[in-house]
């Protein structure tokens, strides 16, 4: 990671701690794209049926950790409150790792999401995975505390793969950076 990236990441983390908002990525997505194929948000999100979160053809992921509840292949998973993109959990990666063949962008947008298990806000880093074409499954767009592009570090419509050596967007992770100072 270059010095520049470290500075950038630090400022992003500081921003999240002090301002408590999330942001995110590249393609915006609102909207159901191909109705049956993708339960996309926010249109589909109006439906509060959690079981509707699975992308068609993506099988549920078992999660036995009661402190981190929910299925990371569903858009309703708590860490995704500000995400905008394809869930790496459905793309060969996981909520914290990139799929094989991709590269994680060190430049990141961070948000703050409420963990329903302990009722604490966590700082979430939505690092993009980059370098191959769009994953194309489990599209998810949630915009809690998302801000327009003039608040770019809180904006999920920007392609953050600009921080990677190969900048094509593939999918997004949701990594815990820590507990927010807002709690």
């Amino acid at each position: 990671m270059s010095k520049f990236d470290k500075i950038f990441e630090k400022s992003a983390r500081d921003l999240a701690r002090t301002q408590s908002r999330r942001s995110f990525l590249s393609k915006l997505g609102m909207a159901v794209v191909g109705v049956s194929a993708i339960p996309a948000l926010p249109v589909a999100r109006a439906s509060s049926n959690p079981s509707a979160g699975f992308s068609n053809g993506v099988l549920p992921q078992e999660n036995n950790n009661p402190n981190d509840p929910g299925d990371p292949s569903t858009c309703e998973y708590w860490r995704y409150c500000g995400i905008d993109g394809f869930l790496c959990s459905c793309c060969g990666g996981s909520v914290t790792t990139c799929p094989p063949g991709t590269e994680m962008s060190p430049i990141t947008w961070v948000g703050t999401c409420l963990n329903p298990a302990d009722n604490k806000h966590y700082i979430i880093s939505y690092n993009d995975c980059c370098g191959t074409t769009s994953c194309g499954t489990c599209f998810c767009n949630r915009n809690e505390n998302d801000k327009p592009m003039y608040r770019v570090f809180s904006n999920n419509d920007t392609n953050w793969c600009i921080g990677a050596s190969s900048q094509t967007y593939n999918c997004s992770t949701a990594i815990i950076l820590g507990v927010s100072a807002d709690n």
Partner: protein
């Protein structure tokens, strides 16, 4: 039996021969479009999230009863689009990678002939800093009667590139730290919205050098009620809706942006029901007096990109709602044509283009720009 069969064949041949024979046809024929498009036409920008290199701008005739799909141009990787009102040429800001999805990046503005839809020229953007983001009208703009073309850059340093439109000469990059996008302002300049609830206004000279730069006092609160970065301009005044339903007019006719008194899009009763603007391109204007805003009920923190249930029409002079148009299939983006009988184009929940009469608010038909993976998000009425 053989005789019967022979007769049957004879009869069938006879009837075959009696039908008019189709003439031979030419191969290698290609359609062209008029150099100046009818005002019922619209550009629909598909950002193509499922294959970002395949972004495109589809040209639709909203009014025709058939053959609505007129053609397309490419807009690769979070492309930008603008049409010249003077020459009617089309421009796309694009990024290309040497190996399609990988390899060396080249940013360029492509110039397209509106009649042939062929790329006729390009401006290579050194540094490859063009902002890659979901399509924004204000990321590629003309100023000073289209003498200059401005493109928004994010690397993550924030800049505006200044290009001379006729010679395609790259004049300068102007830094706009903490600010974003391009709102043409004054004789030869632009303003940008800033993270601290302000605007910066910059005028430049014929060489693209800054001659004045002013930071406007803070006039909105990006934390409690951010302005959408989308706007509709009427008589040089840009109208920005806010997440919670205020309308902020900003006078951009002088060299420095002048925020005017904000007014509310919602009544107290509507506010109580949390009616809010939402979608992607949430506002369009007729250029005369009306603005069209996508609205949804039961808004909440994060609902600002949700699909709308209704399209509300406001007269910016009286600051009153003149009409509510229920949207049959929801609404994510809106555009109004510049035709004599204006038509409303709405990107619906299934990513099709629904067409309504702007006068009556009646739904007339729905058009497709492709299969299930298209993501049309911004529309531009033909000029």
């Amino acid at each position: 039996m053989r005789k019967i069969l022979a007769s049957a064949i004879a009869i069938s041949l006879l009837s075959f021969n009696s039908a008019a024979e189709l003439p031979t046809e030419e191969t290698m024929q290609i359609e062209t479009l008029p150099a100046e498009y009818p005002k019922d036409w619209i550009f629909v920008h598909d950002v193509s999230f499922y294959a970002l290199t395949e972004g495109k701008v589809v040209i639709l005739d909203l009014a025709a009863k058939t053959l609505n799909y007129k053609g397309l141009i490419s807009a690769s990787v979070f492309g930008n689009f603008i049409q010249s009102e003077k020459t009617h040429k089309l421009y796309t800001g694009e990024s290309f990678y040497a190996r399609s999805t990988r390899g060396a990046r080249t940013d360029a503005i492509t110039e397209w002939d509106p009649a042939t839809l062929k790329p006729v020229d390009e401006i290579i953007l050194p540094g490859n800093e063009r902002a890659q983001a979901v399509a924004e009208k204000n990321a590629l703009q003309f100023v000073d009667d289209e003498k200059y073309m401005l493109i928004f850059k994010f690397s993550p340093a924030v800049k505006v590139g200044i290009i001379k439109t006729d010679t395609k000469e790259i004049l300068n990059d102007i830094d706009i730290p903490g600010c974003s996008l391009i709102y043409p302002t004054g004789k030869r300049g632009f303003s940008s919205l800033c993270a601290d609830g302000t605007m910066v206004s910059i005028q430049f000279d014929e060489a693209g050098q800054v001659v004045s730069e002013h930071k406007v006092d803070a006039f909105f609160d990006p934390d409690s009620d951010p302005l959408f970065e989308k706007t509709a301009v009427i008589d040089g005044i840009a109208y920005f809706p806010s997440f919670k339903g205020q309308m902020q007019p900003i006078d951009l006719t002088g060299s420095v942006a002048k925020p005017m008194k904000a007014w509310s899009l919602v009544t107290e009763a509507e506010r109580a029901q949390n009616w809010r603007p939402g979608g992607w391109q949430v506002i369009s204007g007729d250029g005369k007096s009306l603005v069209y805003v996508l609205m949804h009920k039961d808004g909440y923190n994060g609902s600002h990109k949700d699909s709308a249930q209704e399209l509300w029409v406001f007269d910016v002079h009286t600051k009153k709602k003149v009409k509510s148009i229920p949207l049959l299939n929801g609404g994510i983006s809106v555009e109004v044509t510049r035709s004599a009988n204006p038509l409303l184009a709405i990107i619906n929940n299934e990513m099709r283009v629904d067409v309504y009469s702007a006068d009556t608010g009646k739904f007339t038909h729905s058009l497709s720009i492709g299969g299930p993976s298209v993501v049309p998000l911004v529309m531009h009425a033909a000029k």
